[in-house]
Symmetry: C2
Subunit: 200 residues, 2 copies
């Protein structure tokens, strides 16, 4: 057992979600990934699909993406833009989940939102492009024609979102307790290391 | 036993050197830290003390540091500046040591020099300033008056040196197989994790 909250930040296609699921299974604690989206949907009134697509993407990375977000939903809530409103709900939901007890939370800048939480392990998972490209084609069914471009696009959006809301640079080792190369070390080994840390 | 070369890059005061020593002891393989300096001294003809002080510092971070380097040693070798000459010796010595067999190498941009070596684990050790300031005062006998300033100065020099010779940003998770926060996880735990990876 563990009394730890484990946050997993990850590059697209690195297997961070699979690692998170393995860690949660091995520790017997809740795993929040899609469930997190459902919680945010419930609190915000937005559709889960919209949150899934926009929750980790560039909030104001371009005028184009910002305009699109406003066309898709009713507009501005309590003086906040759609993106900022979603961010405030996301913070609130993640803080509530962490209060409930040990769990694994994947993505959604949870490392930053819970940076002052006393019982967290913040992990960052990355891998080289070849490993990730193979993975997204094989496991996510992404197009085989240009998986590299898809990786770069997704990572860029996450990077912009992270920097916008945290002021930090994504992938900087100092922001995490542990960073692991899943391509080099393997998904199972990464999970094992995080489990052993949580059990200490 | 292991057939691995382990490189340990570290923030000043993070305990990276202690972790490296523990890993080498537990695996029963050579540990190159001061010994590395002696090898570079032998190959270059420079005094170990000079190499220790300048080998990981800003090569051309300022005109001042560059001028100082040239006043301290005979000048330019084979058309190379003192710093570039030392770098070339450092690369050659590290590549030779890696050829000899399993070992732990601390610092000196060995992660970059051995980035294409097939049997390496590249680790980066960091910790927050409070942990490191306490450590350098307690263990290295650094002045208690402004350890933070000393940390920042040393890290800045290493960062400039690393970027100058590798083109990479220091402390970026993607450059390493594993990054660990020694302040949060503990020096012994960090060593245990690296040992278990090396044994796989």
């Amino acid at each position: 057992m563990t009394n730890k909250i484990i946050t997993i930040s990850r590059e697209f296609g690195s297997g961070g979600r699979s690692i998170g699921r393995l860690v949660a299974e091995q520790l017997g604690i809740p795993f929040y990934d899609k469930e997190l989206v459902d919680h945010i949907a419930l609190e915000s009134g937005f559709a889960p699909k919209y949150i899934e697509e926009h929750g980790e993407h560039a909030p104001s990375g371009s005028i184009f993406s910002y305009a699109l977000a406003h066309q898709s939903v009713p507009g501005v809530m309590n003086g906040l833009s759609t993106a900022d409103f979603l961010w405030s709900i996301q913070c609130s939901v993640i803080l509530q989940l962490a209060e409930k007890g040990p769990c694994v939370i994947v993505g959604r800048n949870a490392d930053y939102i819970l940076k002052d939480h006393p019982h967290c392990i913040h992990a960052y998972i990355h891998a080289d492009e070849d490993f990730r490209a193979d993975r997204i084609v094989r496991l996510y069914g992404e197009s085989e024609s240009s998986p590299q471009a898809r990786l770069q696009e997704k990572d860029k959006r996450r990077r912009i979102n992270y920097h916008h809301y945290t002021g930090r640079n994504w992938g900087t080792a100092q922001n995490y307790d542990i960073c692991l190369d899943s391509g080099k070390l393997g998904v199972e080994t990464c999970a094992d290391i995080i489990v052993s840390l949580a059990k200490k």
